[in-house]
Amino acid sequence: MKKMHFSELWCSSPRYWGGLSFLAFLVLLGLGAFYHMEHNGHWVTGMSNHLVWGLPHVFAIFMIVAASGALNVASIGSVFGGPMYKPLGRFSGLLAIGLLAGGLMVLVLDLGRPDRLIVAMTNFNMKSIFTWNILLYTGFFAIVGIYIWTMIDRKATQYYTVAGYVAFFWRLVLTTGTGSIFGFLVAREAYDAAIMAPMFIIMSFSFGLAFFIITLISAYWWAGRTLGEVRLARLKHLLGVFVGAVLYFSFVYHLTNLYMTQHHGVERFILLEGGIYTVMFWLGHVVVGSVIPLFLIYSPAFATSRFAIGTASVLVLLGGFLQLYVIVIGGQAYPMNIFPGKEVIASSFLDGSIVQYTPTPAEGLLGIAGMAVAVTMVAIGARMLKVFPDSLEDPAEVEHA
């Protein structure tokens, strides 16, 4: 195989700085929203004692899940020996770090007492899956950092394979951990399913790759570099497989829930009677997030259409976001079954009734700022480090790839 040459991503200054200032603006808006929420307290959000985790958590979980999936491309390159993917490994790592940082930022800024972050970093309850996640996230930064280093620095290449395996393993555990955050909520019917953790892993593959494809196309367009058709087609087909798998898992998840009589209520709520959540599930997750992208990916009419690939990826992200919204928020909106066999006639605490949730703009701005942080880190990282190959032209003999 021809030797790849990597270099920092340069593009014309106005374009670069213009992009960065836009991102900075989004981040500033988000910080304003954070100040608003922390100064007043969470009463200025739509969250309550009944809908405990809201829009910021959807954003955060979305990005954290995607982060681990974004590393997939690198893993395929080093763990599964796919030479077509190997040159993309560095960027894959960078994107993963960016997304994780963005997601964690949102999570932290939504805490009731973010000023006590230091407490979270020094007091650990090792029984908490949350604690394990904190450790997993921290480790992820370190390991992926080292991984990228072994890819960039020639002196470190002998550790490349080891780092690749460690990173691969770590990220699977990390996503399992994120999924388990919900798996541990035994009392909430929507989350009480063993399939939750594997489903999160497959979701991470799909969202991460979609992010990867979008950022890759934009970066090469931004810098005016060549990106080969075959390579993109590879990624595209991989995305197709993942999207299909997510849909399948989603199907199995709801099917198993339907087998458990005590979960019928919540299933009927999500699938039929949940209003906005039902729409988000069918229209958002199934149609926009799965069926249309699959069509764009596999229809011969769009075989080489870059626009179709980009659109498919964006739709996958949109649908994925809505899917998480349904899981996180829809799952809380449906009342918990505190008194089995009884019907709640009256309660001052909204027992037995469906909870309304209307996110406020501040919550959305905070989430978007997290996204902006992720992209900013990628943009700056790509400009300072040699993460992108000069050219990703298709190799001459594709067969062996």
Partner: protein, 258 residues
Amino acid sequence: MGKHNDQPDGKRRQFIGGTILAAGAATVAPGILLTVAQATGESQGVSSDVRYGMLIDTDKCVADCTACVDACDKENGLDLQQKPKGQSDDDWNAQRPQWVRKVQLKDRQTGDITDLPMMCQHCEFPPCVDVCPTGASFRRADGIVMVDRHTCIGCRYCMMACPYKARSFIHQNVVNQLVAAPRGKGCVESCNFCVHRIDAGKMTTACQDACAKEGHQAIVFGDLKNPESEIASILREKNSRQIRADLELNTGVRYTDL
């Protein structure tokens, strides 16, 4: 649920398993395992020789009576917290703290109506404690489950984990508190069996007193481990139930005639 008082024998069920706990014990910051270890060492510290619990006789609980709720609000200064300016009543109702609430239930089978107060059930194996990342949610040696609001970071994972929706988050600045019940923005809180009264040697909770004063006497508070205590003897005589007994949390709050 037989007529028995299934009290803990010290064996702790574990969610994740012994290995993790052992690894955790080695690395954990001081203060977290403290509660488990410190049962008897200190001369005045709370002891695991007692386990506080509550028994609610739902037959005696009266519909539309909110004496226990009002007393709790007053005892803990919850009523000093007011609706933020410009907030709608619905939002305020969804966000204001409620440590104890009145619930009315109808049996789907028999149509029987039950009234009861619902609060933190003070589990022996509390899910909120298991999930809390900083160890702020903890179970005192005497069985009271509470939040150390000096280490609570306001992540609300405990609220997600609680099967009883017993916890409230403070969504706003609090300007006025009682000395005995500090509380403020950004932390999670819940019923703590009026811990400041218990520690001061007073063996009743505010809700219990209020209920008795109304003449209902639906609430009995006491030491489950002491066979002489009123609560233990009633538990021996009457059938009682734990709410969501299927979760095997061994709650400290029990209900009769539910």
